[in-house]
């Protein structure tokens, strides 16, 4: 077995609507913090995750900070682009291809779209007007129909994650909302209201990976997995995106030598919409099938609960600059495992899990999903 790979340093820009800034500056904020955190000044290779940034963006932002002449690879895997960069960087270090690798995620949504992401017109369902909130609304409506969740339980996810974000100075939004306030916010796609949808965000996040040194408290990658979606259709037993998360989680937990997601202490998941967190906590096996809504409403997935989910505030509150999201999740779990999270710290966290999934391609159960297990040694 090869030596474990360490997350030697992490960093992020501020997350939020920042149209006056450019990707050079946002990326520099993330990379300079990650380099300082790792105590390094250069890397042997870079993987960059982004979805909507212009061609050449990786080299454009990296040359502005003197990272030139090393292999640079850009990957796109929808909302999992940042964590795709992370698993590829991890694999490059694990196999000895490179000694020290930077994974960088970035996205500037505020200058790309005036509102929600414009659906892709070369895709059949995108052409038909299935915006991402509507895709998730289909799952939410189905959950309400089968009785697997209530409107109040959906809203509870938003209440919880906005409250978590009060303690995260990098988050775009935070606040002490009530279930009624969440449900009374503007309807976006029935039954999902505005406060149940992630905002339009700009940001960057980065991680430096190296071979583990064996030092005490060092954060290492215990297991990582990536999948693309199989067909999701009339035969699928679950709502969109459930099975790809369940399958990828099984791979990652197996790679980590863990029996179940309930063995981890803290989790960051892809809650682009409230229903997403409910489905994901069930798919990961963090809560029993059908209990995702109940767990959110009952505090099981809140800070202080049995299985804290999204202590950062998640995508709903920290914001969701697509390519940056996965690495912001990695940064949060790294900080959690080092005990650096202040009022949002999960006490004694030693094992953490990151899940990111993204989609939009018709007929598939998501374009991609990445699940990673990190451990403090």
């Amino acid at each position: 077995m090869s030596a474990p790979v360490a997350v030697a340093g992490v960093g992020t820009s501020h997350f939020g609507r920042q149209p006056e800034r450019d990707l050079v500056g946002l990326a520099y904020d993330a990379v300079s913090e990650a380099f300082a955190d790792a105590g390094v000044e250069n890397v042997d290779a870079v993987w960059v995750g982004t979805v909507f940034a212009p061609a050449g963006v990786a080299q454009r932002v990296l040359r502005a900070m003197g990272i030139t002449g090393v292999p640079i690879l850009t990957v796109e895997n929808a909302c999992a682009s940042g964590t795709t960069a992370f698993v590829e960087a991890h694999e490059a270090v694990r196999t000895g291809r490179y000694g020290r690798v930077l994974a960088l995620g970035l996205e500037q949504m505020s200058t790309a779209f005036s509102g929600a992401i414009v659906p892709e017109t070369t895709d059949p369902e995108g052409r038909a007007g299935l915006a991402m909130p509507a895709m998730y609304a289909m799952s939410a409506a189905r959950y309400l129909y089968t009785g697997a969740a209530t409107l109040e339980q959906l809203a509870a996810v938003s209440v919880k994650n906005h409250a978590h974000a009060v303690h995260n100075p990098r988050a775009q939004y935070s606040g002490e909302y009530t279930v009624d306030e969440v449900l009374a916010s503007r309807m976006i796609a029935d039954p999902l209201t505005l406060l149940q949808c992630c905002p339009t965000s700009d940001g960057a996040a980065a991680a430096v990976l190296t071979a583990a040194s064996g030092g005490s408290g060092e954060v290492v990658v215990r297991g990582a997995a990536l999948r693309s979606g199989a067909p999701w259709n009339h035969r699928s037993p679950h709502v969109w995106g459930h099975d790809i998360v369940a399958d990828t989680a099984r791979d990652a937990l197996s790679a980590a030598g863990l029996d179940a997601a309930t063995d981890v202490d803290v989790v960051e998941v892809h809650d682009a919409f409230t229903i997403g967190e409910i489905v994901t906590t069930e798919a990961l096996g963090l809560v029993p099938p059908g209990d995702g809504g109940k767990a959110a409403a009952g505090g099981v997935t809140a800070l202080g609960g049995a299985h804290p989910v999204n202590p950062s505030g998640g995508l709903l509150s920290r914001g969701h600059p697509l390519g940056a999201t996965g690495l912001a999740q990695i940064a949060e779990i790294t900080w959690q495992l080092r005990g650096q999270c202040g009022a949002r710290q999960v006490g004694g966290a030693r094992l953490g899990l990151v899940e990111t999934m993204g989609g939009g391609v018709s007929v598939l159960d998501g374009n991609s999903c990445v699940v990673t297990v990190l451990e403090a040694r």
């Binding site: 659906p119 059949p124 052409r127 007007g129 409506a141 796609a189």
Partner: protein
Amino acid sequence: MTSPTGSDPRPEIRRTAQGDWVVAGRRCRACAEPVAYAWPRCPACGAEVEPADFGPLGTVWSSTVVRIAVPGHTPPYALAYVDLEDGPRVLAHVAGDEPAPIGGGARLTGVSDAGDLQVEVTR
């Protein structure tokens, strides 16, 4: 707003001699997977496919009403995933601006002005 260019990726629909609207799709020769699109291979198993018509009746798997601006469409508009009988799950626009009752029936009624597959609620 710019109009989409290139070929239309949405399902092809046609009217039968009996006057029913059906999706002109494909069925896998190996695993029988129904597909709403004229793709060259089965997305489930990669085997060869043959032409197959689906519809006009189906069951609503889920439904929503989109209330935000989406280029090419005017909100509010109702969408449904409809499982066509012995056929694929298709995304369709629902006549009116109410969600279609989940678990209820739907019938293909052609395409909307915007060229989208359209259904009406049947029961």
